[in-house]
C-alpha cells in the first residue's frame, strides 16, 4: 500500500474512494458503458467457449457443477472463519489458528469459481448482458474479493489483542452477507429466463 503518498490512513482513504467512485459511476456513465460493451458479449457468445456452452448441454452442466462446488467451498471457508470471529463456531480454537488455514482453500475455490464462471458467462452471454441481477452479482463479487484481500486478511494478520472485538464481528457479518449475496444472485441468474 502506498502509505507514504496518502499518509497513515491510506487504506481507509482508498476504501472510501472506491465506494464513492462506485456511486458516482452508477449515477453517471453506467448506462453508456453498459451499451458500449455489448459487442464484447456478442464476441463471448461467438467464441469457441461460447459455442461449446451453447451447443453442448452436458458440457455446460458439467462445468456448472464445478462452479457450484467452488461456491460451496467458498461458503464453507467463510462460515468457518467468520463463524469463529462471531464466536458461533470453534470457540475453543484461536482465531489465528483457524482463519489462516482457510485462506489457501478459499484461494483455490475462488479460482475454480471464477474459471468456471467465465465459461458459463460465455455460454449465456446474450442472456446475462440484459440481466440486472448479473451486474449486481459482479458488483458484489468484486466487492467481496476486494474486501477479502484488502481489508479482512490484513485485519486478521494483526495481533488479536490489538483489534477491537466489535470490529471483528462487524467484519465477519459483512463478509458473510457479501458472499451470501454473491451465491444468491448467482442462483437468481440461473432462475432468470
Amino acid at each position: 500500500m502506498p502509505t507514504s503518498i496518502l499518509g497513515p490512513y491510506t487504506r481507509t482513504i482508498v476504501a472510501v474512494a472506491l465506494v464513492a467512485l462506485t456511486i458516482v459511476f452508477s449515477l453517471t456513465i453506467r448506462v453508456s458503458v453498459h451499451t458500449s460493451i455489448e459487442p464484447f458479449f456478442d464476441w463471448m457468445t461467438a467464441s469457441w467457449i461460447g459455442y461449446i456452452g451453447t451447443t453442448w448441454g452436458a458440457a455446460f452442466a458439467f462445468i456448472e457443477a464445478f462452479h457450484m462446488i467452488g461456491l460451496a467451498v467458498i461458503g464453507g471457508t467463510v462460515l468457518v472463519s467468520d463463524g469463529r470471529l462471531l464466536g458461533l463456531m470453534f470457540p475453543d480454537q484461536a482465531v489465528s489458528a483457524i482463519a489462516p488455514r482457510t485462506y489457501r482453500i478459499f484461494n483455490w475455490a475462488l479460482i475454480l469459481t471464477l474459471g468456471t464462471g467465465v465459461f458459463m458467462a460465455c455460454a449465456v452471454a446474450g442472456k446475462i448482458y440484459f440481466l440486472k441481477v448479473f451486474w449486481y452479482k459482479m458488483l458484489a463479487l468484486s466487492a467481496g474479493i476486494l474486501f477479502e484481500y484488502g481489508i479482512r486478511r490484513p485485519l486478521l494478520a494483526k495481533e488479536p489483542a490489538g483489534i477491537n472485538p466489535w470490529v471483528l464481528k462487524l467484519t465477519a457479518t459483512a463478509s458473510i452477507m457479501v458472499w451470501f449475496t454473491v451465491a444468491a444472485l448467482g442462483r437468481w441468474i440461473g432462475y432468470s429466463g
Binding site: 465506494v19 481489508i151 485485519l155 470490529v167 462487524l170 467484519t171 459483512a174 452477507m177 451470501f180
Partner: protein, 35 residues
C-alpha cells in the same frame, strides 16, 4: 486503538451491511407484494 485497517474495516463493512440489508429488504418487500 483504532488504526487505519480497523477504520477501513468499519467503513467498508458498514457500507456492505447497509447495502445488502437494504437490497434484501426490498426483495423481501417484493415477495410480500407477490397479489
Amino acid at each position: 486503538k483504532l488504526d487505519d485497517i480497523q477504520i477501513a474495516a468499519i467503513v467498508s463493512s458498514s457500507v456492505f451491511v447497509l447495502w445488502f440489508a437494504i437490497y434484501w429488504f426490498f426483495q423481501i418487500q417484493a415477495v410480500r407484494e407477490l397479489f
